[in-house]
Symmetry: C2
Subunit: 356 residues, 2 copies
């Protein structure tokens, strides 16, 4: 019941009597319901899942700690909520303002007999349980297998999209549910786009290829990036950059442990890249939390005061991107421990040269 | 420029001076920008795309009829909007309340010097242009190819998930971008779940299999369902039901043309199913509009007064689902013409028996 007590702590901090949860990822986190339909309603005293007939049996089975209530034409969501509001004397009712649409808020606010207050739940899922860590570990492990297959598979003459399709196929073959986001395959000059989704471009000998992909395993995500060379390295500058990015990534990872701030870790990688003269070509954050969503709290960003805690899982992904030339990014998923960290993505970070 | 003039008609009807558009599908529809970032801002006089540096060059290239403005730390979205609000004397500013989150609304409403009014744009994209119809046609054609491959591919002993994976692979091989929604493969008893996503269940001889999938081609969707039998039909009742559903689907399609209401079409299919005695087992709408999104305006639902118009594309998908036994659904995509309609999905609707 740690998840529910974490949530109730947030209620206390925000001086709320209850919270209405609509986002699929938080409904899944708390009550095992991954759906756009239905609500989780948690008060200081009790917890409910409110769903229509389609979901009732499934939720009853999967959310044993919750009171499950079925909506109907008469027993609407609003009626059910107002009954609980009266029974438990709820004055201040939190909701996920960063998720609920204006129209949904407007309807609820018209009808509910409590003061509705938008709160952010972004920190709710940041400390992972052992079970959650196992899921992310498994997702990362599948990612490693898929990546090592791709190193064998890829050849000059293939399009980026062909490589993407093989990644998707292998993710499923290795037991993943699906890719955890739109896959980036950026070769040659396209490597300069940090978010260069796979295109019809043909991959050529001598080019660098950056692959950024993740695996969804039981609704938990991994996220990894590797850059490698086709046959040989045409551009000496990119080879230099590779070493800088690798060192920056390694140094950041080596310093991750409970107690340091996200900003300190970002600075370690950023300074190495800056000192090598490529600072202006590293234009994004160092990393982000990962779990049910690919991007979760906390960000590893410049100046962030967020203190890393045991049980957080974050990505570490410095990159350097030179317009019209190409780019390099290396990314791992890292579990924060008390005095160190564990890298969950195990693939080598050395510059690999594949058949060219 | 029909799309923009359609939008301006909606502004007029709603007595608005301008509208701020945030949803990726409407930004793509109007200005070729499919992204969570950036806004399209259309006033009675001019039209703008407001994006950050990452998107500026791309939008400048792809949205020739728009004034493209780049945001920066000083030139924020709010500052840009307030400048246009002053220059064009905008009093009433519409926004997509069914899309924008409460928190986004709250920030904009605090800062913008106009009255913000939530409006629904759901009817905006319902009449498809010739170019749009071609995209949906192509998506449907790819779907037909994929389906005919699956009829050859599927065998007893395969899991539903294996069939799903092959569908995904073939969609890409045939030129689709990806599946347009989570694929349904429901065999045997699972056919009774109208939304039975592919599971690990093994497909067996004698069972009915329902496959419901769509193709995303250039951001336009198709959506088709077929039910077929593995080797032979074990359950005579299901064979009867198949014929009822087929007749209901055919009769509905034959009556689709400009001028009839969505409710009338729904009733034609529903009455045939009711008269055959299966009315209570057809629990969903007959169909829905389709285009950039899988579900668009209009719904073909009981009693709907929406009048079908030339250029709408809708699905027609009656189904009958018997708990613990199985189910049947047949679905096509249909283009509404003046005096008739064109079925875009060409696969046979006869009961197919595949190798078992």
């Amino acid at each position: 019941m740690t998840k529910l007590s974490n949530l109730r702590k947030l209620l206390e901090i925000n001086e709320l009597d209850a919270i209405l949860i609509a986002s699929p990822y938080n409904k899944f986190y708390l009550a095992n319901l991954y759906s756009g339909s239905g609500y989780v309603f948690v008060t200081n005293k009790s917890q409910y899942v409110i769903v229509d007939a389609r979901y009732y049996a499934q939720v009853k089975e999967n959310a044993k700690d919750f009171i499950v209530i079925e909506t109907s034409k008469i027993n609407t969501l609003e009626n059910i909520l107002n009954r609980i509001i009266r029974e438990e004397d709820i004055q201040k009712l939190g909701f996920e303002g960063e998720h609920i649409t204006f129209d949904t808020f407007f309807c609820l606010n018209m009808q509910l007999q409590a003061l509705m207050i938008s709160i952010s739940l972004k920190s709710l899922r940041s400390l992972k349980s052992e079970a959650e860590i196992k899921m992310i570990e498994e997702a990362a492990l599948i990612g490693d297998k898929v990546y090592s297959h791709i190193l064998e598979y890829i050849e000059p003459g293939m399009s980026e999209r062909q490589v993407e399709n093989e990644l998707v196929r292998m993710i499923k073959e290795c037991g993943g549910k699906k890719e955890s986001f739109d896959i980036i395959v950026a070769s040659g000059e396209r490597g300069a786009f940090p978010h260069g989704k796979a295109s019809d471009k043909i991959i050529q000998t001598g080019e660098f290829v950056t692959i950024d992909f993740g695996v969804n395993f039981n609704n938990y995500c991994s996220d990894m990036t590797r850059t490698f060379a086709m046959g040989y390295v045409k551009d000496r500058q990119l080879k230099e950059i590779y070493e800088v990015v690798r060192k920056a990534q390694e140094a950041a990872v080596q310093n991750i442990r409970a107690g340091v701030t996200a900003g300190e870790i970002d600075a370690i990688a950023r300074n190495i890249i800056k000192e090598a003269g490529w600072g202006e070509y590293f234009g994004h954050n160092l990393g982000h939390g990962i779990g049910i969503m690919v991007h979760e709290h906390p960000d590893l960003s410049p100046g962030s005061p967020v203190v890393l805690e045991e049980g957080m899982v974050v990505t570490v992904e410095p990159g350097v991107y030179i317009p019209s030339i190409g780019g390099v990014r290396i990314e791992d998923d890292v579990l924060v421990n008390k005095n160190s960290c564990v890298v969950l993505t195990k693939s080598s970070r050395d510059l690999m040269i594949v058949k060219g």
